[in-house]
């Protein structure tokens, strides 16, 4: 955690409050957040829980790279919190917390949206859904390429 940037992969429950505190600052008139939660239905199947698998070291480097990209586009002073869960969550569990502290709301909304979309496409993270019928399946995702 340095210079208004926090990137982590956590096996402990994620804290939204900690994220909002971290990105708050006297110069930040806006705090924007995205909170991902486990949904109870996917493609018609009743979901009981999701297991998240992560290549930690590469994912963290990717988070830092995305943070640098966000700051380049929307301002070097953005305060950023990117944390993803690793392990199993039941329905309603929080899988990811992204928070952006910024002087104004526009760059906060844009940076927050950018970060979640890029994480979904570029971070080495996988999810395995567990269904009420006892079956489990890895969710189809996006093929990685070099950036």
């Amino acid at each position: 955690m340095t210079d208004g940037l926090h990137c982590a992969i956590s096996t402990a429950p994620l804290s939204v409050e900690a994220a909002l505190r971290f990105v708050s600052a006297p110069g930040n008139g806006a705090v924007t957040s995205f909170i991902g939660q486990v949904r109870d239905l996917n493609q018609g199947r009743a979901v009981r829980g999701v297991s998240y698998d992560v290549y930690d070291a590469l994912a963290l480097r990717g988070f830092e790279q995305l943070a640098a990209e966000a700051r380049e586009r929307w301002g070097g002073g953005l305060c950023l919190w990117l944390e993803h869960f690793k392990g199993r969550l039941e329905v309603g569990g929080v899988s990811i917390v992204i928070a952006v502290g910024s002087p104004h709301r526009d760059e906060g909304f844009q940076a927050c949206r950018y970060l979640i979309e890029e994480i979904k496409h570029r971070s080495p993270i996988w999810k395995q859904e567990h269904y009420h019928d006892g079956d489990s399946a890895w969710v189809q995702g996006h093929a990685l390429c070099r950036h």
């Binding site: 698998d53 070291a57 480097r61 979904k120 496409h121 080495p124 993270i125 999810k127």
Partner: protein, 87 residues
């Protein structure tokens, strides 16, 4: 040289131990590791079905995703990464 390859996501079903070891020539590149992984999975599952997943997967070390021509020698934390879906 001996190459240790970590596996994630959908590969964990077929390779529950989470890591594989391959013996490859010293000048082997990512494309050779991809072929070795396919051959290994075919031996495990002769009925097939894993080639498409290997084709859609990337290979990486601890720093970055690698292209097919990248030499493997000296790379740390090699891993095969199936299509991703975080968040």
């Amino acid at each position: 040289m001996q190459i240790r390859l970590a596996v994630f996501g959908a590969f964990r079903g077929a390779l529950a131990q989470g890591e594989l070891e391959f013996s490859l020539p010293d000048d082997a590149r990512v494309q050779h590791l991809r072929q070795a992984l396919k051959a290994h999975l075919r031996r495990l599952h002769p009925e097939g079905g894993d080639d498409a997943l290997v084709d859609r997967s990337a290979f990486a070390d601890v720093f970055e995703v690698l292209d097919e021509e990248t030499p493997l020698a000296g790379r740390q934390g090699l891993a095969v990464l199936p299509p991703v879906c975080g968040g």
